[in-house]
């Protein structure tokens, strides 16, 4: 698996930012703006009340929100985003029980090349149905997703829902019969990361990030298990799955990687309970400069951490 890492012209996700509640307001608490300095500067001076703007809406609704066009919407930084070439965004609120810990916002830029998918699936009548999604150039795949539903246990969303565990599926489109594999294959989508979303209303939602080979969401994905039922009372986590374009498989059945709280970016997520999005972060695996780490809560405790690197 020591293959050369393909360099995309521009990444599928251009900006990742973190908003933290301070009293009744969300304030910017770091992020990776990918060199879009003007947008970063404006964001640093912006804040959101509950229900206000995209992060505030995700807070108020208690679930991820997909916004595919900024013009005429509740998005507050439309002009700055336009200038930066950003056209769509997804806000993922991180709840510990009923307490909002942070909102992770990813912003993307539409063109005819960049393919990927960020989808929100929510339970309705015993099935997961597509709530909303952003697909970039994968228009046909978007149509298929809108007309698909997943029973418990089936496909990436159904599997995440049934197991309440993040799942990283390989090669969605090349022979593993992912339930929408034919369409996924056409769209060039190869890897799928599914995340259970902790919602304060107790409803079930699953977020999927589907990554294409040409314009990958990331070159390295990791899933860490931090449940006391798995790692005991020690504040630590073990890697249960991971794949890297450089290192190949990262998982090990016999000797899984283990980290403690505050050890590296994953340890920071574990110790602080907050997501991280860092650019040019020190201590990353060789060849990587950017990392996003997202805690997945079950009740008031972190159950898993997912991370992607580029």
């Amino acid at each position: 698996m020591d293959t050369a890492v393909e360099q995309a012209t521009r990444p599928f996700i251009e900006v990742t930012e973190i908003w933290r509640p301070e009293g009744d307001t969300l304030v910017q608490a770091g992020g990776n703006y990918g060199g879009l300095d003007a947008f970063e500067a404006i964001s640093g001076h912006t804040s959101f009340k509950k229900g206000e703007g995209l992060p505030g809406k995700a807070w108020a609704e208690g679930r991820p929100v997909v916004l595919k066009a900024f013009d005429g919407s509740y998005f507050k930084r439309t002009e700055a985003a336009k200038e930066a070439g950003l056209t769509a965004a997804v806000a993922i609120p991180v709840f510990a029980g009923e307490e909002l810990k942070a909102v992770l916002v990813v912003l993307c830029s539409d063109d005819d090349i960049r393919t990927g998918a960020i989808e929100l699936w929510s339970e309705k009548d015993g099935y997961l149905m597509l709530d909303d999604g952003y697909y970039g150039a994968a228009k046909h795949f978007e149509w298929v997703s809108q007309h698909t539903h997943f029973p418990k246990g089936q496909g990436l969303p159904g599997g995440v829902w049934a197991s309440q565990t993040p799942i990283l599926m390989r090669d969605l489109g090349s022979g593993y019969r992912f339930i929408r594999s034919e369409s996924a294959g056409k769209a060039g989508l190869t890897t799928g990361l599914g995340l259970p979303i902790a919602r304060p209303d107790g409803e079930n939602s699953v977020l999927t990030l589907l990554s294409a080979r040409g314009t990958p969401i990331a070159h390295r994905f990791e899933i860490w298990d931090a449940r006391a039922a798995k790692v005991g009372s020690a504040n630590s986590a073990v890697m249960i799955d991971g794949i890297c374009d450089r290192e190949g498989p990262l998982w090990s059945e016999d000797n899984p990687r283990r980290i403690s709280a505050w050890q590296g970016p994953i340890g920071q997520v574990l110790g602080s309970g907050l997501p991280v999005a860092q650019k040019s972060a020190p201590g990353l695996p060789a060849g990587y400069s950017d990392v996003v780490g997202l805690p997945i809560y079950r009740g008031s405790a972190i159950a898993h951490i997912v991370a992607w690197y580029s």
């Binding site: 418990k152 246990g153 599997g159 197991s163 565990t165 799955d241 498989p249 009740g299």
Partner: protein
């Protein structure tokens, strides 16, 4: 350089080569044959490849570069057809290859049940990449899969196929899943987990045939069930692949015999992996295979090492499914269990201990400390010092004893106490401060412990912490196995649809593995009363009288009492009884207070025969031993008595014919008197009917035993049918609500007669529903146990030991 030939590029031989190259890369010139057209890959990771959670490339252990770097001549896809030990050559399709040392690592082959249709296209095993590809192709069509075998491999295949989008049914012959690795409680949780993924699991399912025109279409079970299938995965076990070794004349057992250096009966031939037998043992898990590989490498290099059997542990590779089992957890004399359950989080932990040593461990839902426990098992550590906190894991060892009260007091205000209703500590303490000073009022105001009830203990501790001495604990639990009362358990069995004993033990947090002699009969009754169609009556949970269908006497003999409907008999029945008494030397024949004839002093081994004789004369069991309907005593009524107002005998017979065979919380005795003179003594029965000119007076809740109590009037009704309906509805209400071993008079005293009247007399829809549910129950349980036992269970009555030593219960 010496020539080493290895047959089979599996995990054991691959690890052996690694060790050997590491120690001495120049020792041998290696030629590696493999029937599969590829090299060594991590076979135990095939299930995540099947599910799509791993790619094949990720599980390749040795790629082409590795073989090239180590100068291994790879002959993949080339099958060995023979071994000539005299000439020291192996024979393959392409000729002969000489060896100085030979290692056989041919592994195993899946066992295919030889049922009709097992060779149809679409029947696959789960052993190699070809099988995975075949399954993936089938999954691509969104089809239906049947997996035969609920062991490790079968369940991994089932979960993977489900993730791939198939409708999956697992058929398992035994009573619970993975019975070799898990006990019933863990098997229950695993089944529940898999069902939560949309997989259908059928236990006790025996495959009769696989059918289809040209390819698989359906699987037929022995009980006639038909399951449609596009693919059938056989995962019932493996058998060592030993044909080559056998043909070569090596010493064989169930597989190729090796010594502790992995050498076969030929000193130049070694064997490793699933094809070997060592000291009578076969191998299927990877850990001992790696040990064998290490030893074989040393042997090849002329170094000393010894293969030893060791304890094994099991995990299941299904995402989100945490289970662990190790050691021996079978029941046994002198063995004790430590059990921890957390129903809210689906956790079950059990340790089996003997002589202060942990023999086995089964964990479901929490495997955090499994390695520590596995160490205790392997090292046979003396755990006497940490026994009380052992189940909580290593973090609790060495410190002071944990005081549960202090722990509750120390909980932060926002700590969740009741997971079901999301009630935190501060909500409860505020409610206590506002005047809710007992469990009932706390439940009413906060809903804490009002759903599953498993936090009742915590809530009570909070009451005790907050109120101090003012708080008095509620009624004690059923027994030491649970803090829940009978009434709570009954409510929860209904509310949470618990339909098996295992479900009760787990979901209600039983502190023991499977109950005790106190709770088991009660739970067995509650389950069969609430779920007559779904629940399977468990004879082992019954008192000896109900197991034997006869009353054990103080000398160890039994009594036999045929049913006489309404106390009416005839000369033929009397002759049959007399003949039976003669034939089986019955020492005592007694007319009972309930108007029956009792044969006392029958030996256990004679029971099935005397029952058969009485059956032949048209009589059935009188259930004189049961917690169920006993007798309906009658007077002669209008047929003969000049005071009689109604056909009391006829009504008595009808009632007995309607109610016999039903199990109840305690025994139920009825009587019907034809007039208020009450010759049948109906006013001290559980249900007593007094016939009057205007109809029938139904009395309930009388007693004439340790307590004496007159019946209370349930209702007066004009017609016989209404009298029957009310009686049946009352008995069913009693069956559904009373505490086990409460006679109706005790139960009515608790719930109040008005509560009963509301449901049985005034609410006609409810009365009809009670009668309907009773009829459903009777469709299962109204059967003569004598006939069944005389026909099929005669052996069970032949004494293994002297019953006189067994205390009467």
């Amino acid at each position: 350089m010496q020539k080493l030939v290895v047959i089979g590029a599996g995990m054991a031989s691959g690890r052996m080569l690694e060790h050997m190259f590491e120690a001495d890369p120049q020792a041998y010139e290696v030629t590696l044959f493999n029937a599969e057209p590829r090299g060594n890959y991590n076979r135990i990771m095939l299930s995540p490849v099947l599910s799509g959670e791993k790619s094949y490339e990720e599980i390749v252990t040795h790629d082409d570069a590795w073989y090239a770097d180590n100068a291994v001549t790879c002959r993949f896809g080339e099958r060995i057809t023979g071994i000539d030990r005299d000439r020291k050559v192996v024979i393959s399709e392409k000729g002969e290859t000489p060896y100085d040392k030979l290692v056989i690592g041919t592994g195993s082959a899946p066992f295919i049940i030889p049922c009709p249709g097992h060779d149809l296209p679409g029947v696959v095993a789960f052993r190699d990449l070809e099988d995975v590809d075949a399954m993936k192709t089938a999954a691509g069509s969104d089809g239906r899969a049947v997996v035969i075998g609920g062991g490790l491999l079968g369940l991994e295949a089932a979960a993977a196929l489900r993730l791939q989008g198939m409708e999956v049914t697992v058929l398992h012959l035994m009573g619970h899943l993975m019975e070799r690795q898990l006990d019933e409680a863990a098997g229950y949780l695993l089944k529940k987990d898999l069902e939560g993924r949309g997989i259908t699991v059928l236990t006790g399912a025996s495959t009769k045939a696989i059918m289809g025109e040209g390819r698989v279409e359906k699987v037929v079970l022995e009980d006639g069930t038909v399951i449609p299938a596009d693919i059938v995965v056989m995962a019932v076990g493996i058998r060592p692949s030993v044909a080559l070794g056998q043909a070569a004349g090596l010493e064989m057992g169930r597989a190729i015999k090796v010594d502790a250096q992995m050498v076969t009966s030929d000193p130049d031939v070694l064997a490793v992996g699933e094809c070997v037998e060592f000291d009578g043992n076969l191998f299927g898990l990877v850990a001992p295979l790696y040990d064998q590989a290490r030893v074989a490498a040393k042997t090849l290099l002329g170094e000393d090492d010894v293969f030893r059997m060791r304890e094994l542990s099991t995990k299941l590779k299904v995402t989100g499914c945490d289970l662990f089992s190790a050691g021996d957890f079978a029941d046994g004399e002198g063995r004790e269990d430590i059990v921890f359950r957390d129903p809210g989080r689906g956790i079950y932990k059990r340790l089996v201990i003997e002589d202060d040593v942990v023999l086995g461990a089964v964990f479901y839902g929490d495997t955090a400390d499994s390695n520590w426990y596995f160490g205790l098992i392997k090292d046979k550590t003396d755990i006497s010092e940490m026994r009380d906190t052992l189940i909580f894991g290593p973090a609790y060892q060495g410190g002071a004893q944990v005081d549960p009260m202090a722990a509750v007091a120390a909980l932060p205000p926002d700590a969740e106490i009741c997971g079901c209703n999301g009630v935190c500590k501060s909500t409860i303490t505020e409610a206590i401060g506002a005047g809710a000073t007992d469990l009932g009022s706390l439940r009413a105001t906060t809903k804490a412990s009002a759903s599953c009830g498993t936090c009742t203990g915590l809530v009570e501790q909070l009451l005790a912490v907050t109120l101090g001495e003012d708080f008095r604990s509620k009624e004690a639990g059923i027994c030491g196995c649970t803090d829940l009362t009978h009434e709570e358990v009954r409510r929860l069995i209904k509310a949470r649809e618990l339909k098996s004993q295992t479900a009760v033990w787990q979901e209600l947090g039983w502190k023991t593995v499977d109950g005790c002699h106190v709770c088991r009969p009660a739970i067995n009754f509650y389950l069969l009363a609430d779920w007559p169609l779904e629940y399977q009556d468990d004879l082992q949970s019954r008192f000896i009288n109900e197991r034997k269908h006869a009353n054990i006497q103080k000398d160890g003999t039994f009594s036999v009492m045929p049913r006489m409907w309404g106390g009416i008999t005839n000369p033929a029945e009397l002759r049959a009884i007399a003949d039976a008494a003669d034939k089986y030397n019955v020492p005592t024949v007694k007319v009972t207070g309930g108007q029956r004839i009792d044969l006392l002093g029958v030996k256990s081994e004679d029971l099935p025969h005397i029952w058969a004789d009485l059956n032949a004369a048209g009589m059935v069991s009188g259930h004189a031993y049961s917690k169920g309907l006993r007798t309906v005593k009658t007077c002669v009524g209008t047929d003969h008595c000049r005071f009689g107002t109604q056909d009391s005998t006829g009504l008595g017979i009808k009632l007995e014919k309607a109610l016999w065979g039903s199990w109840t919380p305690h025994k139920v005795k009825l009587a019907v008197s034809g007039c208020p003179r009450n010759c049948a003594e109906a006013t001290c029965k559980d249900v007593g009917v007094i016939c009057v000119d205007s109809g029938y007076q139904i009395g309930v809740a009388g007693a004439a035993g340790m307590d004496v109590k007159e019946t209370e009037r349930l209702a007066d009704v004009p017609t016989e049918q209404e009298a029957i309906d009310l009686t049946i509805a009352f008995v069913q209400l009693y069956r559904e609500n009373a505490k086990y071993l409460d006679r109706p008079y005790k139960w009515v005293a608790k719930v109040g007669l008005d509560w009963v009247k509301e449901r049985v007399v005034h609410d006609l829809d409810n009365r009809a529903a009670l009668i309907e549910r009773f009829a459903i129950s009777q469709s299962v349980y109204q059967k003569d146990p004598w006939a069944e036992h005389a026909a099929t269970k005669t052996d069970a009555y032949t004494p293994l030991s002297d019953f006189r030593l067994e205390a009467a219960e």
